[in-house]
Symmetry: C2
Subunit: 334 residues, 2 copies
Amino acid sequence: MADVHNNRRILLASRPEGEATTANFKLVETPLAPLNDGEVRVRNHYLSLDPYMRGRMSDAKSYADPQPLNEVMIGGTVGEVTESRNPSFKVGDKVVGVGGWQEYSTSDGTDLRVVDAARVPLSAYLGAVGMPGVTAWFGLNRIIEAKAGETIAVSAASGAVGSVVGQLAKAAGCRAIGIAGGAEKCRYVVETLGFDACVDYKAGKLRDDLKAAAPEGIDGYFENVGGDVLDAVLEQMNAHGRIALCGMISGYDGQPVPIKTPTIFLRQRLKLQGFIVTEHMDVWPQALKELGERVASGKLLFRESIAEGLEAAPEAFLGMLRGKNFGKQLVKLI
Amino acid sequence: MADVHNNRRILLASRPEGEATTANFKLVETPLAPLNDGEVRVRNHYLSLDPYMRGRMSDAKSYADPQPLNEVMIGGTVGEVTESRNPSFKVGDKVVGVGGWQEYSTSDGTDLRVVDAARVPLSAYLGAVGMPGVTAWFGLNRIIEAKAGETIAVSAASGAVGSVVGQLAKAAGCRAIGIAGGAEKCRYVVETLGFDACVDYKAGKLRDDLKAAAPEGIDGYFENVGGDVLDAVLEQMNAHGRIALCGMISGYDGQPVPIKTPTIFLRQRLKLQGFIVTEHMDVWPQALKELGERVASGKLLFRESIAEGLEAAPEAFLGMLRGKNFGKQLVKLI
């Protein structure tokens, strides 16, 4: 099959200066080379778009090497094996991997994991039963260490990570407070996902609304956005509160946003901890098992924003950085 | 004896607006009442001046109640029992307690602990073998969890807490980097206390000097000052660094100073944790035992700035907030 196909791929054409734009990306079409011994070819069905990619586009000092210029953009994918010269994979296997922004990916299989797409929809392995889900699980259980009866808040609450944080918090007997942009997202967070309250940060009275949503203060906070939202939540933190710092999307695309009153960390004896879930591979099996069971049994809900076709990826990615997505942002590639 | 004495005391006369001034304090002289059953009278020899007192002077939300107006300023003291109607204390006992800014204190004894002033000088119980020492011990061992070979930095390094942090870090096999204000303090930190390096934050090239002092980056940071020093240290933190947040003296006396680039917490997966050592009484016996033995055997050195007489306390306190003290700030009361 491979010899009849060209592969469409999106490369990083240039590094952003300030805000990222579509001009930083370039769509190219290249022929697929025949497989070597040990290699696997995957037709990618879905590409995951994630905030961390913005960091890779810059060459500032980071925990990860920058995305090289003129190479295919990094990205998680799910798809189906179409050709295999590797005994661990057979044609038709559904796999999750890091195939990048392209229609076909070719690898030695070390980044691929065969998944069961019968009980859990394939795309969920990029969301609630994938890296975003494990991220939520780790922050809530290993950093916040949420206990029944506590109030747990999460920003970007309707997103891939935030929606799992709140639902797991509820399942653990906590009060779950979401923060999201817009009335529609907030309604979804409360009515569909079952959070106790959701604060619309675009409504212009973030501090009052947070106070009303968390009348007993906030014990644990899962942070995805940073900036003014973080400042506002800090003011409501209870003594000995814990903050899992997963993302600061407000500072990715341009200047970093300061924390205005860091003395709160001292006054309330708070813990703030940044983390990267790929550095905690030991928890993945346990977390994925729990998340998969919850999704399969309908106890963990998720929502997806699906852009159609590889060429839609750059716009969808930039929109996600601005909060335009509603749920896990994916690109459907087939 | 008591009936022949008046007691000189310093009260909080008014709350500071912005910077604290001597006008916020008032010296009064009041007669000592006869002791009731169960009470102990202590002639205070030394009063401890500590940054936390600045927080108590304001009535902003805090972990502790504000210091009431027109009452004696709170403060740790060491002294000698001069009169006792409490069977646990006898005249001549040396005690450490929270006697406040006054020459005599009277209590039911619950805040008093009899100490051995033979092996360890009495004043040390307000410093290296007291709250500042235990604060250093807790932050280094329980939050930073310093390991041999790591680089540990501490601000206000010549002070009561910082000097213990660095000496304990050296004893644990770490590289110890001090940050202090002025060449004289830095010389003391390196030449007398044995730190590996000390950066003078007043020398005008904080970032370059920090980089030179910690060529392999900083794994643990014990923070006493906040502000620009914290921002500069953050830039040098290694992945998975830990920051024990003990004080932010730069923000006490006026406006809080922001953390400029909080994305570093995420990028380097840092932990920041605020703490108050009086909330961790379980470690005090172990810490005091270790600190006392180190002081008695000459392995833990300390330095004191001693103001003479109760009336000197307000000026000495304000000077300490501005970093004028050199070592633990005390007031000698007898």
